[in-house]
Symmetry: C2
Subunit: 209 residues, 2 copies
Amino acid sequence: MPSTPLRADARRNRARLLDAAREVFAEAGLDASLEEIARRAGVRVGTLYHHFGNRTALVDAAIAPRVEAWVERVEEALAHPDPWEGLVEHLTLLAEWQTADRGFTEVCVRTLPADSATERAKARGHACYAELIARAQAAGALRPDVSPADVGLLVWAAVRATEGVRALAPDAWRRHLGVLLDGLRADRATPLPGGALDPATVRAAMTFP
Amino acid sequence: MPSTPLRADARRNRARLLDAAREVFAEAGLDASLEEIARRAGVRVGTLYHHFGNRTALVDAAIAPRVEAWVERVEEALAHPDPWEGLVEHLTLLAEWQTADRGFTEVCVRTLPADSATERAKARGHACYAELIARAQAAGALRPDVSPADVGLLVWAAVRATEGVRALAPDAWRRHLGVLLDGLRADRATPLPGGALDPATVRAAMTFP
DNA sequence: GCGGAACTTGAGGGCTACCTCAAGTAGTAC
DNA sequence: GTACTACTTGAGGTAGCCCTCAAGTTCCGC
């Protein structure tokens, strides 16, 4: 894990490793083979470890920018004039991104070390996202008995569920999201059992290796 | 894979292997380590292979009875006087079982060889289950624009989504199922994008190794 | 209580993955 | 153009998994 300005070849290899990592994580998730990433970057695995030290560091470096891009989108969603529309558009975007990138999908429900760039970005995003939910509830559009974690997990579930049929029915997730959104509207709600999932529970449950 | 009447010790070991397999598959899914299963049965892995030949045969022998039990329950659900109530109770049961048994969960969305006991049971169950769905739709309770596969995947998704928080919030799946069921009710459903998932698509997408 | 078949074992070959490190290679600063 | 050293490599140790098979052990019918 060098810190002084990198040599030209090293800089090139580092960039290639990050590109390969993003590709492979997107296809195979965060537990994908590091050997495969090195292979795709045209480099030996020793080089990968020279740059990143361990899997977690590589995941963080590869995924953080993606999470940061997501944070920007949550912020934009908050600016939408209609609270319900803003929420729906954002959840759809989230599902779209998750469909296209398994690494991103997994990072949404797993926790990296607290001092990682990814987790710092997520913390910012979560604050906005909670506001997005609260705003839709305050407007009377979103049922009041769900937490941000509930909604997030539901979207994640719709994506996961349709993963298997993706090759044959690439837009199946849109249907499932449609059913969910109907279930989330305040004007159709029947009372839910138990209490809403709180962030602490969710966080405690989802820590990376 | 012997066929003549088994010797006493062999019968005992076979039973132990099946018990261990059910336990391990329930905890870790159908890709669990066969070495671990042999270990837990107090037997070497060679014995496991002597009895079952390969992983698929063991999965089939271990899981088929569970699927057959499920089929009985679908048949019972069809006898429920209220189509919607019958469906809801059955989906709840299905989710309960999936929560308790990861092997069962996976066998719901993966396909074993067509001549396996498991697949033969599933075929019977699916026929009843499709009728259960159709009946609820005919009664005007279930939205007409979802297929049996859609509903099955949605339930599966609710279970999967809450897997991570199970230790801390064991009943989280009930809330998610609640949201789904609200989304599945026919009254005030908003139209879904795309067409319903058909069984052929789902089957083609989900074939075991 | 013995012979032979049924069963189990232990060892092992092949694979993939993780991660390490001494030794060699090649940018870069001068 | 040389010398320094950051960087890369190749080889390798560990570990887990899959599955096979010859040799040894245990049951069971007679």
